[in-house]
């Protein structure tokens, strides 16, 4: 069964009638690391929003492990780390509470947690601490996010995606502003997750990096322009030609 299967998905924003995504077909088996590349405005983030279920597709069908998104949403199967611009960085929230938002699906099962929304079980904090430790941000747990640097923020959101224990990870430009050393650590974590059957889709502009680590590359520019092995697809020359064609 496919982790994600899309049939002819199209999408637009209310501000314009132009299609942002045009007839996207995807068949992604579990346990792969997929690079999603394309120029600014290609619709990468939009595709993520649709997979997560935050945005409705205009047309088309989406199945996550064979089920429609709203069924999978409740189980928190899809984890998502946003691109910087999507978050209000002055929001009054501490780092560990950001990571906690990845644990909501594990919290909500009990009635007690509804009656006492501020009482968080100790075992939850342990998972959260561990996730923060993996990305090297444990000592920042009680800091407000507004006090972090760009790369540190990225790592916190990655920790959240890890804490969610999801089977599908959508990472929107996860290495932007992250230093080389942390990037290395994060890649090791992601590869380990992949070994355990996690599907990871990464939107990125770093073609060289993607060529090294991805199993598959999808080039997007409103339509799917190419889809295949990274060595073939992510050739700078081919890509620039493809973009000119589209």
């Amino acid at each position: 069964m496919y982790a994600i299967m899309a049939r002819s998905i199209s999408a637009a924003y209310p501000t314009s009638t132009d299609l942002v995504l045009n007839r996207i077909d995807l068949e992604l088996p579990p346990g792969e690391l997929i690079a999603l590349v394309g120029p600014n405005g290609a619709g990468k983030s939009t595709l993520f929003k649709i997979i997560v279920g935050q945005k409705k597709a205009l047309r088309g069908q989406l199945r996550i492990f064979g089920e429609p998104t709203h069924v999978q949403q409740r189980r928190g199967v899809v984890a998502y780390a946003p691109q910087e611009g999507f978050i209000d960085w002055d929001f009054p929230i501490e780092v560990r509470d950001v990571v906690l938002t990845g644990r909501y699906n594990h919290l909500r099962s009990s009635v007690a947690s509804r009656l006492f929304p501020f009482a968080i079980n100790k075992s939850q904090w342990l998972v959260i601490d561990k996730a923060l430790e993996m990305v090297g941000m444990k000592s920042f747990a009680r800091k407000p996010i507004s006090a972090l640097s760009g790369g540190q923020k990225k790592r916190v959101f990655l920790a959240r995606a890890l804490a969610q224990e999801a089977s599908i990870l959508l990472l929107d430009e996860p290495f932007n502003g992250v230093d080389k050393e942390s990037e290395e650590t994060i890649i090791q974590i992601l590869l380990a997750l992949k070994e355990r059957g996690c599907t990871i889709i990464m939107a990125s502009h770093d073609l060289n990096r993607m060529r090294e680590i991805a199993d598959r590359a999808i080039v997007l520019n409103k339509r799917i322009i190419a889809d295949g092995s990274p060595e073939k697809v992510l050739d700078e020359k081919i890509i620039s030609e493809l973009f000119q064609l589209s």
């Binding site: 929003k49 935050q54 949403q73 189980r75 928190g76 998502y80 946003p82 909501y104 929304p117």
Partner: protein
Amino acid sequence: MIMIMRFGEALVTFLINGLMVIVNILPPSIAEVFQFAFMQRALLTSILVGILCGVLSCFVVLKGWSLLGDAVSHAVLPGVAGAYLLGIPFAIGAFIAGALSALGMGFIERNTRIKQDASMGIMFTTCFALGIVMISRIATTTHLMHILFGNVLGVSMSSLILTLAVSVAVLGLVYFFFREILLYIFDPIQAAAMGIKTSFLHYGLMLLITLAIVASLETVGIILVVAMLITPGATAYLLVNKLSHMVLIGTFVGFFSAVVGLYLSFVYNIVSGGAIVLVASAIFLLAALFAPQQGILRNLIFNRFQRFEK
């Protein structure tokens, strides 16, 4: 219905008696003001409204809905006038008009490219003009003044019960759904990934704000209620880095300004809505000047020092 009113009345009496125990501890010169029954009702109403607006103001500030609050509160006016014409309780008319405009604006915000400020500006001035025209035909200027600026000293038992019911409902919902509201405002995409119904929350929050506006009509009036839906939250925003703390501080600012404002309005014989809002503004000003991390004063001193170091 009668049962509910009875129960409400009993609850209100109970709360007032509880309040009076606290009030009577205060110095006699202050306590004496609150010996009149109408002052006791005004006190309870103001406290409820202060807390209610204080809590919601945090969400309004973070979501950037200040203008929306302003628009809804103005749009309520024709609802009040319509209710007056039909002879139904004016809170119902106010709620229907407010909710319709809130939902309308929420829909516009989510679905069109019209600049928000323009669409809201047109919408709420139109509603407001309509309301004023209607009221000028049917009621006296005193009535109009009371709706526009509040008349907390004249609060009736039934509207106090309504305020109490709204407060309990709104505060309860905010408490139980605190986590969801937080995530929706902070990161709506993650909220969706967690299976939270975001459009439900979006419109739900707007309805809660509308309810708070309706409940505040008699205390601060249509024109000034938006101040109570912004200032406490904005003050708290300057002081802390955690949403739950922000809500607590917002609540306190709302509560404090309502009580002190009411007292001042009685002692100096000034409009209560104006007094309440001015107290809130004064607290905001203090916070803006002296906040530990983001205060203007701290920044000034800090910059001075840095210049010396160079």
